[in-house]
Amino acid sequence: MERTELIQVLEAAILAADGPLSIERLLRLFEDNDAAPSRADVQSALHALEEACGQRGIELKLVASGYRFQVKQAIARQVARLWEERPPRYSRALLETLALIAYRQPITRGEIEDVRGVAVSSHIVKTLVEREWVQVVGHRDVPGRPALYATTKAFLDYFNLQSLDQLPSLKELQDIDAIHPSLDLGEQPADETPKEAEAEPASTADESVTDTRTKHQD
């Protein structure tokens, strides 16, 4: 198969698909083809496709479940005017629950409630499951066998991520020893964090927010 043709088919397939397409799925397009391209061919073609987007309004993006084309961020706001409806906003409760599932998975509802200090409404869990951001991956072997929740690839796709690694890192916990070194609590791992932590505990949180925001505004 000609490279030009390969690139065209890949472009068309990714655009025609309902969701991101993995390399495996793309390779299967050529399965019965006599001159089926190799994985390396496909990867190189995808690379070419990515570069060809330079002057275009869209870009090729690799997210958790594969490749998709998306509107370039620089012009997304302009394009967003197509839709009258405002994009959905999510409550703090939902986002906190989602964050706990993302960072602590697999996790039970009870464990989420322990951290948040309040009950998690079933409505929130239902919404997360219905959006296919979260799924039950098993049950904890304790009385009641509570469901264990984990995030899905669709969650990563939605947030433009390839893997959980790409989530913003959690703010470090500080040891109370930093204040009272005499009291050895023995619970938390005594790493090197306390020193930096001492510096300015409150501000780090705020800075990271601003960082992320400015990063994605341009």
């Binding site: 986002l95 947030f159 703010k171 505990p201």
Partner: protein
């Protein structure tokens, strides 16, 4: 629920007046209350603004720019209690979690007051557990905010799609197993209560097949077919009988007509229709 109304500003000191903390009767409250007095109308909004006791406590601590690691437990407890009492006075149904926290604070406070016994080494700071929980909660509160700022579909990102054109002469050759067809028939027959019949149907099928063949022959020849042409002697007597039965059957069903111009002249078979092949369905 909008961010503006739900996020108590984390960093308070000297950093006021950006976004309204809450809107009460149309008036924006840009500054979170610095003392304990909250306008009664604002109280509900205020409580709504918190995601639970940990969130409220965190707010109380941050508001005074205190270090989470070194909470002046007495002062914070007092403030917390005052909120709770006020809310109870307003007869709001407080989530049980708020009361549990009140009890926990009271306990820590009393333990802090007890004189330390020198012998017990490595005694835990009574606040340790609370501090751990506060920090942990803060961690995820922050993570949730970070998550919210990530570019995401529908809001910041839009997937690009092209449609697939109608594909010409696309034959969808769906594989079917005979067994499936038979199971379907079994179903429809049971629904139609056909199985009460004890007839053996095998013969009928060959007869029916022949009926179809005769009709097809007629259709293809677009008109008259000589009677004898509908028989093939090489099928033997059996085949001839079946063909004959099929023709009789078709005659009876008024699907074909026989025509003969005079006695002993060739018999012709034709479709019963006035016109041969018109208006299907």
């Amino acid at each position: 629920m909008g961010e503006q109304t739900t996020h108590p500003t984390v960093n308070i000191a000297g950093n006021q007046g950006e976004m309204p903390f809450a809107i009460v009767q149309g008036e924006p409250l840009t500054t979170p209350p610095t003392d304990l007095y909250i306008p009664p109308d604002a109280l509900e909004v205020f409580l709504d603004a918190f995601e639970g006791p940990l969130d409220l406590l965190l707010y109380l601590i941050k508001r005074q720019n205190l270090n989470v690691l070194d909470i002046p437990i007495a002062a914070v407890t007092q403030q917390y209690m005052e909120y709770i009492e006020m809310m109870q006075a307003m007869r709001w149904e407080l989530a049980a979690e708020y009361l549990v926290m009140a009890a926990m604070l009271a306990e820590i406070k009393s333990r802090m007051l007890l004189p330390r016994s020198v012998e017990t080494e490595e005694e835990e700071d009574p606040r340790a557990e609370l501090v751990r929980r506060l920090q942990e909660y803060e961690q995820f509160k922050q993570a949730a905010q970070d998550l919210d700022t990530l570019p995401r579909m529908e809001r910041d990102l839009f997937a690009a799609h092209a449609v697939l054109p109608v594909i010409e002469q696309q034959k969808t050759e769906v594989p079917v197993e005979l067994r499936e067809v038979l199971l379907a028939l079994k179903d429809v027959m049971s629904r139609a209560e056909m199985f009460t019949s004890h007839r053996v149907e095998r013969e009928t099928l060959s007869l029916r097949e022949r009926m179809s063949q005769v009709l097809e022959t007629l259709r293809k020849s677009e008109g008259f077919v000589e009677f004898t042409q509908l028989f093939s002697p090489d099928e033997g007597r059996l085949g001839v009988v079946v063909s004959f039965m099929a023709i009789l059957e078709l005659l009876k069903a008024h699907l074909i007509d026989l025509a003969q111009s005079e006695p002993f002249a060739p018999i012709y078979v034709k479709p019963a229709a006035p016109e041969a092949s018109s208006g299907e369905d």
